[in-house]
Symmetry: C5
Subunit: 154 residues, 5 copies
């Protein structure tokens, strides 16, 4: 049975890990390993440990970068680490970051974090079980959270 790692943070203001796990369980039969760390810069090694020590097949890295310039830099650093981790392990990490300033208020922020986590959980299921579905979506302007943009036409 495929095993999905869920790496998330105490810094984030909504429990995206819980939303992702709920979505994964509703739509697939996978084992889940959860690993919560303090902040997003702790996510890359958490992902690495989920692969190496917990034998996960794929990991979701869920985080909420704050709105200050420093927070944006932290998000960039975390993302670089997440990409290197994938290159070191030959496994996918689906990064689910919601920037705190993407939403105008706390209510919409929570909604957005929930929805993006769930839609990316769907991507995890596609990568694991139905890659041909993703191929059919190639170039169709898919988005996670807010509405899809759709394709551009010549």
């Amino acid at each position: 049975m495929a095993k999905v790692g869920i790496a998330d943070t105490a810094f984030a203001r909504y429990d995206m890990g819980k939303a992702a796990i709920d979505e994964l369980k509703r739509h697939s039969s996978v084992k889940i390993e959860r690993y919560t760390v303090p902040g997003i810069k702790d996510l890359p090694v958490a992902c690495k440990k989920l692969f190496d020590e917990h034998k996960c097949d794929i990991v979701m890295a869920l985080g909420m970068p704050g709105s200050k310039p420093t927070d944006k830099t932290c998000a960039h650093e975390a993302s670089m680490g997440i990409i290197y981790c994938q290159l070191m392990t030959n496994k996918h990490i689906i990064e689910v970051f919601v920037h705190e300033d993407e939403a105008p208020d706390g209510k919409e922020l929570a909604w957005l974090m929930d929805r993006r986590a769930r839609e990316h959980a769907q991507n995890v299921i596609k990568l694991l079980f139905t890659p041909k579905v993703l191929e059919r979506e190639a170039g169709t302007g898919q988005r996670q959270g807010y509405e899809d943009v759709g394709p551009a036409r010549q």
Copy 2:
């Protein structure tokens, strides 16, 4: 027979993978392995897997970074990963990125994505089969998508 990997995304708004494959098939006899992922940050490991698991000789990584600052950062992170992947594997990845804001509207965007994908498919063929042709183009101001700029003259 040479094998070309095509890594592309569901986020992009035009099916560059299809255009690239069409161009490759018209002008060469190569095997194709396609791998569609959600977004550009998933491309580096997709390329790595195309080399390690699917034994590709070269990969095209096709993506469309959005126009927001965050999207520009994502493109940068993906590009760094694509460069490391090449250094790890000693194989070329031809990155074909079209920024959403390079074109004034959806129609020209689609045209640009199609053309750049096709012209880079030509580069793949040159790297694989006719490197001397590329050498003759050295320093001649070649561009992919919009018109060539041409050489500067003393």
Copy 3:
């Protein structure tokens, strides 16, 4: 017995290493290995040596980036190194950086550096001994230093 590495700098304007060690000793039984370097860019290799040569299980990297643009770049470079070091060793480094311009004056700066070092020492204890406590804090808007922000609600 678990061994915690403390990497800190002579550049910083408050002895965060001492604060972290005091907090760790009050709330746990761990061995401590301390390693002071000139500045934050010396921290990544100090952490690496604490893992490889001193067999630490986890490291705290404590530093105070200055307020000039160059200092911000140094902090970014150090953070990238700290993330790579974790990926190379599969061990956590809890980065405790306080930017000199986070506080309006020296007095508050010293207070903030002390408090953030101590709160992150608590995170080290949780990662080592009570990961389930961290999991319960997932998505609750925890901060180190200034007050917690708390969760956003739908």
Copy 4:
């Protein structure tokens, strides 16, 4: 006999590779291996292949970043890859980048690209055969292309 790799691009608007090879041949007896790629982001792996597959002792990486912000980012990414490649191989890559906007017009651009390529070819010869000459130039404000700045004096 020492072997020098020449990695250059079809994107550049002047044939710096030719200038570098001419300069190397005038002033030394070295073997040359040339490798032309589409753009600067293809240079890092070209250098890696020149070392690993073509057994070069040193490589020149010649490129002309364009003047748009995206081009500056590409140059940065290429440079990072070129530095990693050197760390992986323990061999020098002399990066010869001329930014398109360094010169006011095409004529001066071509002149600058020619001259910088030639002066860096001289650096390659010094690194290979006369490192003591470089040591005597330490701290003397050498520049490649435009005039030397010279030393500052107390």
Copy 5:
């Protein structure tokens, strides 16, 4: 006997390598290996070779980034390479960079480059022979070149 590598550049406008070597010889008995390269982006691999081929125990990387934005980017790239080199070798590189625009004129620039090189040579001696001295300086606001800032007090 400990061996210190000195990596410096022909681009810099003051012979920091000479100043560092003078300071090291006055205050310790170490062997010196000097390696001059054209510019700061050549420093990372020079350091790597000083460790791997010349068996140095520690290296000083001395450079003077220019004042243009491109120069700042080069400095950042060099610094990233210097950090990776340390992680690959588990050895310290003391980076001594003086930005050309830190000083108002050539005279003060030369003074600053001399002084910072010497003060960092002292740090090398401490790291090699008296790490406890560095530990006593933890959090005391040490600076190299201009005056120490000193500690902040609660």
